[in-house]
């Protein structure tokens, strides 16, 4: 009888202890205050909506591929697979891309030349700023001084030299090529860059940005290095 009583009390006390501990955890959790104002929330919302629409587009593409597979499964599955591989290769930057685009040449500013200033290499921060400015538009293929910019590209300073994909960028002048899918996109990018503040940022470093008119057929080089997959892991199952 006594043993039974003791075990009952133990179980009840265990439950009480658990509940008290959970309550303690819940009460002591510092609640992060939301201090964003309406404008920041709107921006957040617009970011999320953009993400939403991008995801929808992606779903559409994947659905297309799926239906292509289904159509082709009877005829030639290899063909569909090959096409997918091609798509993925071009998305990863392993293939050359040809299309409408613009060419930007980074040159020493005329004032610096006239004053006989020493022209130094471009700073990585400035180059990153330019690439970010370009990347505001989606679906672009960029190469900097012959080096293709892919998702894993690092623009950084190595021993005092600015490098792209660990290849040093020439001291200006050098060229940046940007190819997009349609002429419309290229024109949009051209107008955006022409009115952008990037010219002022470059001028501070005694450089000038010269942007060509949109060209019908421009080719950006393929990414010629091994991709670094160290951080990638295989997803198991569905």
């Amino acid at each position: 009888m006594k043993k039974k009583l003791s075990s009952r009390f133990s179980v009840i006390l265990f439950i009480i202890g658990l509940m008290a501990a959970v309550q303690y955890n819940t009460i002591n959790e510092p609640d992060a205050r939301d201090t964003r104002d309406i404008w920041e929330i709107r921006q957040e919302l617009s970011r999320e909506m953009q993400l939403h629409s991008e995801l929808l587009t992606e779903i559409g593409t994947v659905d297309d591929t799926l239906s292509k597979y289904e159509d082709a499964s009877n005829e030639s599955p290899e063909q569909a697979l090959k096409e997918t591989v091609e798509d993925l290769r071009s998305a990863a930057g392993l293939d050359e891309m040809t299309g409408p685009g613009i060419e930007i040449s980074i040159e020493p500013s005329p004032e610096a030349v006239a004053l006989g200033l020493n022209i130094e290499g471009i700073a990585p921060d400035l180059l990153i700023r330019l690439v970010n400015e370009i990347n505001r538009h989606n679906g672009l293929y960029i190469s900097i001084d012959g080096n293709r910019v892919v998702n894993t590209t690092a623009i950084r300073d190595i021993n005092g030299t600015t490098t792209v994909n660990t290849v040093p960028v020439q001291t200006p002048p050098f060229k940046i090529k940007i190819v997009s899918k349609t002429m419309d996109d290229t024109e949009k990018l051209y107008n955006h860059l022409m009115s952008s503040r990037i010219h002022d940022d470059f001028y501070i470093d005694n450089l000038s940005v010269i942007i060509t008119e949109p060209i019908d057929q421009l080719t950006v080089e393929a990414y010629d290095k091994e991709h670094n997959y160290q951080q990638l892991e295989k997803v198991e199952g569905e």
Partner: protein, 121 residues
């Protein structure tokens, strides 16, 4: 006795170590549940000391009180009346009463033991 304390320690350490949390909206319900279970526990101890302990009453009372208290709080939230105050009040008063009774019983037992020892000595 020791088994019970072990159970309590096990429960607390499990709760703290797993860092379990419930949504803050439900914290009220849990606090009432804790109060109800404490009430039942002290009721059980009192009944045991008075010699009227019944297993079924104790275990059913434990769960029934918790559910009743949570239900009262739930209804209160939906009616806009702070009904959980009623539960807190009822359990709080009973808790004090039970503890008072337990204290008196223990005091009496202690006094009796002392008397017996004095008589023996």
């Amino acid at each position: 006795m020791w088994l019970s304390i072990l159970g309590l320690l096990l429960g607390i350490s499990l709760g703290l170590l797993t860092d379990m949390q419930i949504p803050p909206e439900y914290a009220d319900y849990l606090s009432i549940a804790v109060l109800a279970s404490l009430d039942t526990l002290f009721g059980g101890i009192r009944a045991h000391l008075q010699g009227v302990y019944d297993d079924k009453v104790f275990v059913s009372g434990f769960f029934f009180n918790i559910v009743l208290a949570a239900a009262l709080a739930f209804i209160g939230v939906h009616l806009g009346v702070d009904l959980y105050l009623a539960a807190i009040f009822a359990f709080g008063v009973r808790l004090f009463q039970n503890i008072a009774v337990i204290r008196r019983i223990l005091l009496t037992k202690w006094a009796e033991k002392k008397e017996v020892r004095e008589l023996q000595g």
